[in-house]
Symmetry: C2
Subunit: 310 residues, 2 copies
């Protein structure tokens, strides 16, 4: 089977960690061991990943250095994070594959994701990114840089940026070519670098794209049969956090659509994942799974996780 | 013809510039217009590039933010710079190709370059990188981080790191596959991320690799016929800077080897380029050219630049 794996940010860097390269390599290596279990079974795997903590650190470094060096725009920071994380995954995965006696090649393809300039998200930026500011700092930044900042959960003010819907991948042919040749491709990291069509061609834009929605788009473009979203919970829950919470086992896309309409899933958390699942199955995917890294293999065998079918 | 183009750092960021993304995109767009002139003639082009100013800025940002966030090791910073620069080149080149009516695909492949752990360079680090420090700061850093710092041209102290010889590219098969499919690949940026073989597989190492020497290695691996090194001078000179300086037109690899032995070329400048040329021709290359961006097309036609043949 052709499987698109979407690795959650926690597979690379955990919240309580400092963010050293050593910590990230340790986490990535663990994630790769689980991926090898899947690849060993003969599946063709393509990998995408989140970049939240990494691009957050890049933005914070830019901020701390801003009196000395010009900060980079979000598209460039996203490209940097794809280089950084792609490197860590490709190196670790190749090493783990070699230990397991699997000779597959691994490559990271820097990915641009097309978004629509008329996407409503550009009118209503909602995605908080980068460091926290005090109220005074926030006022200055609004004037100086024209950013939109909002109060974020009592911890201070943060910049919010648009999170438009991913449309298509500019490097789709390249990724497909490599996947067809049996190469494990790492692509669309952090949801891909957001670009919009202009008179002068495609240009980067200040936005971030949800990595699971991007995974669904990429999965469709490479004709993946399975979308495997790896996060930090074993199952998706109905009525999550309530006394009657229920784990979802095997459900249909239609049922998921109804749960989404009921507002079952938290936005910024399980909601975009479930939307990605519904999109992927709507575009011809055969199966979508949401589970934890350590249950990925069992979930593919149908004995763990939440599985959604058309 | 299959041409490996090595873009100098000045094609992306000039010394007197601040380093904003806008400046870099303007420079890269200009470079890409010249590359399109070559691609339009039907040549198959693969691109590599320097990363000096960009990785310098990444290191300086890490330094300025070090009390808040852990600095990244050199291999990770190199991977970040490949993402950043690869993105700028692939986007600009695709747009310029489209304007010229050429439909070629462009893709950046994150590249790891194998170096030999027993390379003499690890005993004698010589390549200055990152910010300048005062004598007191330098003493502290030597103790705290075990770095080697040397006085650099009266401007302060700088870290020096090993610059080992590139041996081979871990992504060679991938780059070759894409090149064969007619895709313009951007690879081995900044000379590639340096990795050494260990018991646990290939691991990153604190070093930098000369991008022209890496270009020669990559050129050999993809069977490029021409190595085109683009820098800021129209020709290589003999007796450079002396009253009897002479531009080199068409010379043989044998003559170059003799000039290298005579110490004709400045180390850290023209010397590694000429060594790259000799290596490339020794590995089966048909022609190597050193010239400026704006003379690249004429140099390929044999009417400009310094051309070296076996």
């Amino acid at each position: 089977m052709r499987i698109l794996v979407a690795l959650g940010g926690n597979a690379i860097l955990q919240h309580q960690e400092k963010g050293t390269a050593e910590e990230q390599f340790v986490n990535v290596r663990t994630a790769c061991k689980h991926l090898v279990e899947i690849i060993e079974q003969g599946h063709r795997v393509t990998i995408t990943h989140g970049n939240g903590p990494q691009v957050g650190d890049i933005l914070l470094k830019d901020e701390l250095a801003k009196d000395t060096l010009p900060p980079m725009p979000l598209d460039v920071c996203g490209a940097e994070s794809q280089g950084m994380i792609g490197y860590m995954i490709q190196q670790s995965l190749r090493n783990e594959l070699q230990k397991a006696g699997v000779s597959s090649q691994v490559a990271t393809v820097l990915t641009e994701m097309v978004v629509d300039a008329s996407d409503q998200a550009f009118k209503f930026p909602t995605k908080p990114i980068g460091p926290f500011y005090t109220s005074t700092e926030a006022s200055h930044i609004r004037e100086e840089r024209g950013w939109i900042l909002v109060e974020d959960s009592g911890r201070g003010y943060r910049r919010v940026v648009p999170s438009p819907r991913p449309q298509t991948v500019l490097q789709a042919q390249v990724i497909r070519e490599l996947t067809d040749a049996g190469i494990i491709v790492i692509a669309a990291g952090g949801g891909g670098v957001p670009v919009v069509s202009t008179e002068d061609g495609f240009k980067g834009i200040e936005a971030v794209i949800d990595k699971d929605l991007s995974a669904a788009v990429l999965g469709g473009l490479i004709s993946a049969e399975v979308l495997l979203i790896l996060t930090d919970v074993r199952n998706v829950f109905l009525n999550y956090g309530l006394p009657n919470q229920t784990p979802l086992g095997r459900v249909t896309s239609e049922e998921c659509r109804r749960y989404l309409e009921e507002g079952q899933f938290a936005s910024g958390s399980m909601r975009p994942k479930m939307e990605a699942v519904v999109n992927f199955l709507g575009a011809g995917g055969e199966r979508a799974i949401i589970t934890r890294l350590q249950d990925a293999k069992d979930a593919l065998d149908g004995t763990a996780g939440t599985t959604v079918v058309p």
